[in-house]
């Protein structure tokens, strides 16, 4: 109730009433009061509560947390309430004395004899580390000692939070250093205090110790999370934060443990190595990886422990993910070792499911590294057939349902297809009937239990995903397109049957595959439209699974480009649905910009026949444009969203102008021109559009001038956009902006000269 009433200022006495006699209350009522305060803080936005009330809440909460509080239930409720109240404490954390006091009480609570209080206190520290990073310097030394003790000695839930504190500090510093972008003169709102770099000599040994505390069979348990996992995750974040500096601190641990008889030591050493592969420079890592690679390949084949093999395959995957690819100077995979690497990985795919899954993952990144090689012969070509066979074999393993193995195999198959070349296209083509047969079989099976049906839908999603990748690959070259399009009828039949399932993931994947097919088939796709249309409409109505809706909107764009004016018969229905989507406050906001772009796609496809939609679409565009013209005071996320909305609106205008170009009805657009020019002017004045918006905006100016011609000349000449904005774009360093500006300049000079 407070969540609704407080923001409306309709329950001003609530906080006062709750706190009025808190000191006289019996413990259980005090506990309930603190819990209520915690819930209120969790539910209500900080700006809905006056500072005076915030102060009173914090005072009551911190007093309840104090070691002088004899009742543990009260102390625990207070500690949990503080966790929720931290977001309200901006002003209090800016005051040295108040902050010192809060921090002292939180740190004391981490030493409570009650495990739940210690855990809640560490959760507060984690939250403080992200909300008040810049205020932590005076306390960081003490916090290190407290966390180190907890990691070493305390019970697991407490130790996990203590590690999470350092992971969270890494997150903060990675973000700040990202904003610096390597340019240390650049501004960041918050300076980096380099807590991780300073703590490195003590932090790294503490984390390495945790790696030896693995649980038996943790790799078989999907949702497992323990101190070794948290420690390795934190070590990975530390490596990303400090880069090269971590390497000499971890190497002795790896060298000292990797050949030990105890599997825990070998696994910990391997996990440490895998964890630090993202962050340090290739110059630092490549020489070490070159030595380690052979050792790892051998361990993957011969180590007696599945746990060690699992982590070894994962580490190989990390090597390929971060140190293999066309952008790196020194290749770690060479003609000399390529064959052995592939042989070992394919062999490993026959191992127990969790090891086979990681081997698939390693092959995924190995293939990815060859993706941008251009038209040259891929080093994978000689092994291509074996790789496809091995992966297809994995998908058919009886135990492929374990450890996400089937998913990993299909995902790797997709990546291998993506990086295939013309030479290997016939082998990819051979996959098509196999995958179609698999999909057909999933559609035939009946009388399934709920659990089996869920697995079936998941498999349908994977198979549609795989077909989508194949369509996209083979459809991208004229030589291969016609061969696989011979299967298009059958394929489309299967996709349509997938829509009879109730699974959002399967729908999404089938929809993506159909979009790719429409793109490849072009105007030939028309024959499927009468049957497909109802599923298209269903997708556009799917507010709940907004990803399905977003993908369907994208597919409408594909259809417009494939069918051009042949999409006309379906446009009434599509436009009705898109307009409904835009007016809905149920639909996720991220779908709205693509809907505007889609208006442009439709208009470009059907030309002047868009006329009947103008009276609906234009007011929508106009009000969205007004809303998106100003972003003052918005945070980064909001600015990014606003720019994507502006881009969608502008793409709609572009498509509409270009669609009407040359028609006798162009003057129907004239009444909208003043507002559109005003929108362009306001974007220019606001100075916060990104490059994409700038390029689209100046293009719209050209499209407007091109389509409306001389009748719009006075309007154009009066706009700021046609002068200052255009000049700025003409002298831009961005070639796309410049190209659009050249277009606008030419179209304007023509409109004016006639």
């Amino acid at each position: 109730v407070a969540g609704i009433e407080l923001p409306q200022k309709q329950w001003p006495e609530l906080i006062g009433t709750l706190l009025s006699n808190i000191h006289q209350l019996p413990p259980h009522t005090k506990q309930a009061t603190l819990e209520t305060l915690g819930y209120i803080c969790e539910e209500v936005s900080p700006d809905a509560v006056e500072q005076d009330h915030v102060n009173k809440i914090l005072t009551a909460v911190v007093q309840g947390m104090n070691s002088s509080e004899a009742n543990n239930d009260v102390r625990l409720a207070a500690t949990r309430a503080l966790y929720n109240a931290l977001g309200f404490a901006q002003a209090n954390f800016s005051n040295d004395m108040e902050r010192d006091y809060i921090m002292r009480v939180v740190c004391e609570a981490t030493l409570s004899p009650e495990v739940k209080i210690r855990q809640a206190a560490f959760e507060c520290l984690v939250a403080i580390s992200s909300t008040y990073y810049e205020k932590l310097a005076p306390y960081i030394h003490d916090i290190f000692n407290i966390t180190a003790k907890a990691v070493k000695e305390d019970e697991e839930p407490v130790a996990l939070q203590a590690i999470e504190f350092w992971s969270s500090i890494c997150d903060e510093e990675i973000d700040i250093l990202d904003e610096y972008g390597g340019d240390f003169s650049a501004d960041s709102d918050i300076p980096c205090f380099y807590f991780i770099k300073q703590a490195l000599p003590v932090l790294v040994p503490m984390l390495l110790e945790t790696l030896l505390k693995q649980e038996e069979d943790q790799d078989q348990d999907e949702g497992a999370w323990n101190i070794a996992m948290a420690g390795g995750t934190c070590l990975g974040l530390v490596a990303r934060t400090v880069g090269d500096d971590i390497v000499p601190l971890v190497m002795p641990f790896i060298e000292g443990n990797i050949t030990k008889p105890d599997w825990r030591q070998r696994e910990a050493a391997t996990y440490a190595f895998g964890s630090i592969l993202e962050g340090p420079s290739p110059e630092k890592l490549v020489p070490i990886v070159n030595v380690a690679l052979n050792f790892m390949l051998s361990a993957l084949m011969k180590d007696p422990s599945n746990h060690v093999k699992d982590t070894t395959a994962w580490t190989l995957g990390r090597m390929f993910e971060f140190l293999h690819g066309s952008t790196l100077d020194t290749p770690i995979i060479t003609p000399a070792n390529c064959q052995e690497i592939i042989t070992v990985l394919l062999q490993s795919m026959k191992d127990v499911p969790n090891v086979a899954e990681k081997a698939c993952g390693a092959l995924y990144f190995l293939a990815q590294g060859y993706e941008d090689m251009g038209p040259s012969v891929s080093p994978l070509t000689p092994y291509f057939q074996d790789i496809l066979q091995a992966l297809y074999g994995v998908t058919r393993r009886e135990d492929a349902g374990e450890s996400r193995l089937r998913t990993a195999a299909y995902e790797t198959l997709n990546e291998v297809v993506r990086c295939s070349t013309d030479e290997t296209a016939p082998m990819v083509m051979q996959l098509v009937p196999l995958i179609m047969m698999e999909l057909h079989q999933t559609l035939e099976t009946q009388k399934l239990t709920a659990d089996e049906r869920e697995k079936q839908n998941e498999l349908q999603g994977l198979l549609c995903g795989c077909l989508q990748v194949i369509i996209q690959k083979l459809g991208s070259s004229e030589a291969t397109k016609y061969v696989f399009l011979q299967c298009a009828d059958q394929m489309m039949g299967l996709f349509l049957r997938v829509f009879s399932s109730k699974s959002a993931t399967a729908h999404e994947e089938a929809m993506l595959a159909i979009g790719a097919l429409a793109y490849a088939a072009g105007s030939n796709f028309e024959k499927y439209m009468s049957e497909f249309y109802r599923y298209l409409e269903m997708g556009l109505q799917n507010f709940e699974d907004y990803q399905v809706c977003a993908i369907t909107v994208g597919v409408v764009g594909d259809l417009c480009r494939a069918l051009e004016d042949k999409i006309s018969p379906y446009c009434d229905g599509i436009m009705t649905q898109l307009l409904k989507d835009l007016s809905s406050n149920q639909l996720h906001r991220s779908v709205k910009p693509p809907i505007f772009s889609c208006f442009g796609d439709i208009a470009l496809a059907i030309g002047e026949n868009f006329e009947k939609y103008l009276i609906y679409a234009m007011p929508m565009l106009q009000s969205a444009a007004e809303l998106s013209a100003h972003t003052s005071g918005a945070d980064d996320d909001m600015t990014e969203y606003t720019n994507s909305l502006r881009n969608g609106i502008l793409e709609a205008y572009s498509g509409i102008f270009q669609g009407f170009k040359g028609s006798p009805k162009t003057q129907l657009l004239m009444p909208y021109a003043p507002h559109i020019l005003q929108f362009l002017d306001s974007l220019y004045m606001e100075k916060d559009m990104d490059d994409v918006v700038m390029k689209t905006a100046i293009g719209v100016l050209g499209d407007l001038a091109d389509t409306l011609g001389n009748s719009a000349a006075p309007l154009i000449q009066n706009s700021v956009s046609s002068k200052d904005f255009l000049n700025e774009c003409l002298s831009s360093d961005d070639s796309m902006i410049k190209e659009s500006a050249e277009w606008a300049k030419m179209a304007i000079s023509r409109a004016i000269s006639f």
């Binding site: 995750t233 996209q472 994947e509 993908i551 796609d601 023509r750």
Partner: protein, 69 residues
């Protein structure tokens, strides 16, 4: 015990292939939209240049055709 939601899942890739498929489709669609727009503008530009022939383009053609005569 479950890992915190925002942490990369243990020994799993940061981005799922499903997410990649979505992103690659969006890229393809954005590129196709750009191409369609580009074609429309190129068409307009070529009409423009036909309507406004460069004054010296005709003599140049004549010069080029001379050696073949």
């Amino acid at each position: 015990m479950a890992p915190p939601d925002h942490r990369r899942p243990y020994k799993r890739p940061a981005i799922s292939d499903q997410q990649r498929r979505r992103e690659l489709s969006l890229l393809r669609q954005a590129q196709s939209r750009l191409d369609a727009q580009h074609r429309a503008r190129c068409l307009a530009s070529s009409v423009l240049s036909l309507e406004n022939p460069e004054p010296d383009s005709v003599p140049e053609l004549e010069l080029e055709s001379k050696p073949g005569e």
